[in-house]
């Protein structure tokens, strides 16, 4: 497809959602205590290194999205739930961190286990 100037506005207004219209069972529910897997591939991932092994609580289930780890390598969308998971700053960064602050990170189903 050739992108021409006249269709730029509609292409921008439509965008390209990563949501996938597939019914996929979530492994977690809001309120679940979870632990981030020690997932450390050489290939693409959207799990930040700082989060590996950390414990948090599922705050929101955002629904079903393409999984970046496979999607980046032409291995399909492996559609799965993406959650907002809450972590305390202390849990992630240790005792020097604020007692009160929290992190909210968007974490894919495959990155988590029940704690």
């Amino acid at each position: 497809m050739l992108l021409t100037a006249d269709i730029v506005p509609v292409v921008l207004a439509t965008g390209a959602t990563a949501r996938v219209n597939k019914r996929v069972a979530p492994r977690f529910r809001v309120g679940d205590r979870v632990r981030v897997r020690n997932h450390n591939p050489l290939t693409h991932t959207r799990l930040p290194g700082y989060l590996r092994g950390k414990r948090g609580i599922v705050e929101t289930d955002y629904g079903v999205f393409a999984f970046p780890d496979t999607h980046a390598h032409g291995l399909g969308d492996k559609a799965q739930h993406c959650y907002s998971v809450r972590f305390t700053a202390r849990e992630v960064w240790g005792a020097t961190a604020s007692e009160r602050d929290t992190l909210r990170v968007d974490v894919f189903d495959d990155y988590l286990d029940l704690d």
Partner: protein, 103 residues
């Protein structure tokens, strides 16, 4: 991959030093680089994830020293060369030609 881009929490990185009233593009070429994303995405068949992963392969020191749109340029070249749409030789030859024309 746990590459240089995976930088959350790293210490010693220094001040943010935000620029006041910065322009959307600091140089004309940055705007062209930005435009190349949409223009190549629609025909080359790469995903945003693949594009990001290409950037993750930039050599760490170069990643930190180079500007944001240089990262994009690196990714375009890698993705388009990988797909056989352009070759490194073609690009280098054209750059040499443009440089000569400017003299």
């Amino acid at each position: 991959m746990h590459g240089i881009h995976d930088i959350g929490g790293m210490h010693g990185i220094g001040p943010i030093a935000p620029e006041e009233n910065e322009p959307v593009f600091h140089e004309e070429w940055e705007g062209r680089a930005f435009g190349l994303f949409g223009a190549t995405y629609v025909f080359a068949g790469y995903t945003v994830d693949e594009f990001r992963h290409a950037i993750e392969h930039i050599e760490p020191a170069h990643y930190l020293e180079s500007s944001y749109y240089e990262h994009w340029l690196f990714a375009f070249e890698a993705l388009l060369i990988k797909r056989g749409i352009v070759t490194r030789e073609e690009l280098d030859a054209r750059v040499a030609l443009l440089r000569k024309e400017a003299e």
